[in-house]
């Protein structure tokens, strides 16, 4: 299977910088997602790899060769578009056979391969149907089968599920991943849905403003965000402002509470103002009986809102440290009501300090 490397890709549209020195490497058989908000350049990067756009500078290297000199129809990459890409005048089978037909394969070979692939995506029964007779999810499966029929070196997917219903999306993303693992094909996937990216990728490249903010496994991205952007884009983060008491001991005072930052690379001098981040699931709550004071390690707060999210309830709090969000199990949340006084503690090991933006893209040790 192939390796893909994007080196220093740069692309501007007039005054807008779509890609700002993008570097990314995808290993053989790996599933990498480019995750980011709209406008971050992820689709532009993908289309450059596919051959539908060209960068102002930079290289795209597949298996050691720069492919930018090749036109799109010679690159042998499979691409699944967001929607509407099936040829309307052909049945599902004919669509899947199309790439083989262009490569001048015989009638029987094509039919056999088309059947194989449609079975792989679970649509063998729909072979003779036209795109307009298929649901959105079914169309995307056919599109996937069609792109795989040509045995591409690389599979490219441009937000293939965003046009589909939520339930279909979850189902289909599992299937895409299953098929990808089965075939071992190197895959580059673009999405703005973090749940999607985190659940099916080997590695995720979080992008913003044309560059990769962080590249890592889903776990690394989620629990070890390196910049404020990544921390905020992936999951929710509480932000705390504080003043450094001791740089060596990494002690920070936020309001009436003293915290110790676990990150050994925390380097600030006493007196510096810093921002600390912690996720809502790492904020603990304890109901306070009337008039009671919080136990040591806890501080005061009041419930300001309750948002039911299913298994978890997000509790809005006004605390001695400012406004905070805490995620508690919904069963526990039933005991909470507006204005209820609560005691709050932070799981110190999950406290992190982040730069507001990294000047160098971080590539963690493999």
């Amino acid at each position: 299977m192939s390796t893909v490397e994007l080196r220093g890709l740069r692309r501007t549209f007039g005054n807008v910088v779509a890609l700002d020195h993008l570097d990314l490497d995808i290993r053989s058989g790996e599933f990498v997602s480019m995750l980011g908000p709209s406008g971050c350049g992820k689709t532009t990067a993908l289309r450059i790899v596919a051959g539908f756009e060209w960068p102002d500078s930079g290289e795209v290297i597949v298996d050691g060769q720069d492919v930018l000199g090749q036109p799109a129809n010679k690159r042998n990459m499979g691409m699944v578009f967001q929607a509407y890409s099936l040829f309307p005048n052909m049945t599902a089978q004919q669509n899947v056979e199309f790439g083989l037909r262009v490569r001048k394969q015989g009638h029987e070979t094509r039919a056999k391969r088309a059947r194989e692939l449609l079975e792989l995506v679970g649509l063998a029964s729909a072979m003779a149907r036209y795109p307009r007779q298929l649901s959105g999810g079914q169309q995307q499966r056919v599109a996937l089968a069609r792109s795989l029929a040509i045995e591409p070196k690389v599979l490219l997917l441009d937000e293939p599920l965003s046009a589909l219903d939520a339930k279909v999306r979850v189902q289909l993303r599992e299937e895409v991943r299953r098929i990808q693992l089965e075939l071992g094909i190197t895959t580059l996937y673009v999405t703005h849905d973090q749940e999607e990216a985190l659940s099916i990728s080997d590695r995720v490249a979080v992008m913003s403003a044309g560059r990769v903010e962080q590249l890592g496994t889903p776990a690394q991205i989620y629990s070890g965000p390196r910049t404020a952007f990544v921390a905020n884009f992936v999951g929710t983060m509480n932000k705390l402002e504080g003043v450094v008491v001791s740089g060596e001991d990494r002690v920070v005072r936020c309001g009436p509470v003293t915290l110790i930052v676990p990150d050994p690379t925390f380097k600030h001098a006493a007196g510096d103002t810093v921002e600390l981040f912690i996720r809502p699931e790492d904020v603990r709550l304890d109901l306070l009986s009337n008039g009671a004071s919080p136990s040591p390690g806890f501080f005061n707060g009041r419930v300001t809102s309750l948002t039911f999210l299913g298994p978890v309830t997000r509790v809005g709090l006004l605390t001695d440290l400012g406004p905070l969000l805490a995620d508690v199990s919904s069963a526990v949340a039933l005991n909470l009501a507006a204005d209820a006084p609560v005691a709050i503690a932070l799981d110190a090991s999950s406290l992190r300090s982040l730069a507001s933006s990294d000047s160098s893209p971080s590539v963690p040790p493999a």
Binding site: F98, V102, S147, I150, T307, L318
Partner: protein, 305 residues
């Protein structure tokens, strides 16, 4: 900070009717009153379109004394009318076919992504102008171009090519060229939305799967567009078939429309009821054209959805 109540999951959705207690609207009575608003238009159409049309259809089957007859219709099949129908159909078909093909080709050129920006507005506005230019001025413009002393005629003479006397602006070739002047820009205008309806994703998917530009057109582009292309050519046919002023100014007489005109002018001494029959014949031909066009359009809209 405001207190946000726990979301009420599973509660029945708000039903406005239930909340306001409003009675269900009296549909039938409102509809009848509403229909009154349609009457002015209906009246106008009836007076100025439906009645005259009905009149002429009825007249096609009536003698001058008022009795029912097929003889008017029969008259159409006697000289000089069949040749007029023949020429009308020929001229319309030729100008529609060539107008359609050229219109399609040029529309593609106008829409090509690499083309300078001013091309599209220039060609589109000129096409709009040309499509409307039909009539008297057009005929004289072509006389000035390809007539006996026309600019192009003289130019060709200098190059050694004497197109007269075999060429004539009243012949099939000459008249087709004149008709082409309004047919082919019309096709450009009509074709542009159709070509734009070819989704970008199809082209890109085709390229991604290994097909070049030719492969795309051969397997996807042309098959999807063909019903539209044919349908629009039918439209062009109807347009040319109904033409009167241009042909009149060119001095062509062997055309159904001109023949009808001669009846009204009083230049025709044959059975006056024949004008009705001719007009009726025209309506029949045009209806056939439109029915075919509608069928083809339905085919296209299925694909271009």
């Amino acid at each position: 900070m405001a207190f946000a109540p726990l979301a009420e999951i599973g509660e029945a959705g708000l039903q406005p009717d239930v909340l306001t207690g409003a009675a269900p609207p009296k549909r039938t009575r409102t509809r009848r009153w509403a229909f009154l608003g349609f009457l002015p238009f209906l009246a106008f159409i009836t007076i100025f379109l439906l009645i005259p049309t009905g009149d002429l259809i009825v007249g096609a089957f009536r003698t001058t004394t008022g009795s029912f007859t097929f003889s008017n219709i029969a008259d159409i099949f006697h000289a000089p009318y069949p040749s007029a129908f023949e020429f009308s159909i020929e001229l319309s078909a030729v100008s529609a076919l060539w107008g359609g093909i050229l219109g399609f080709v040029v529309a593609n050129g106008v829409l090509h992504h690499g083309v300078p920006r001013w091309i599209r507005p220039a060609y589109l506005s000129f096409s709009g102008m040309a499509a409307n230019f039909a009539g008297i001025p057009l005929a004289f413009a072509f006389t000035a171009t390809l007539g006996n002393l026309g600019v192009v005629t003289i130019l060709l003479k200098h190059l050694g090519l004497n197109i007269y006397p075999s060429f004539s602006l009243q012949g099939l070739l000459g008249a087709s060229l004149v008709y082409l002047f309004f047919q082919f820009p019309l096709m450009i205008l009509l074709m542009i939305p159709v070509i734009e309806g070819l989704r970008k994703e199809w082209r890109e998917a085709a390229a991604n799967l290994g097909a070049g530009s030719f492969g795309f057109w051969r397997y996807v582009g042309i098959p999807v567009i063909t019903p539209s292309l044919l349908g629009l050519m039918l439209l062009l046919f109807g347009n040319a078939f109904s033409a009167y002023a241009t042909a009149y100014a060119l001095g062509i007489s062997n055309l159904v429309t001109i023949q009808i005109g001669q009846f009204i002018n009083g230049n025709n001494v044959f059975n006056p009821q024949d004008a009705y029959a001719l007009a009726f014949g025209m309506i029949v031909i045009i209806i056939i054209t439109i029915v075919l066009y509608t069928l083809l359009q339905r085919r296209t809209s299925r694909w271009l959805k």
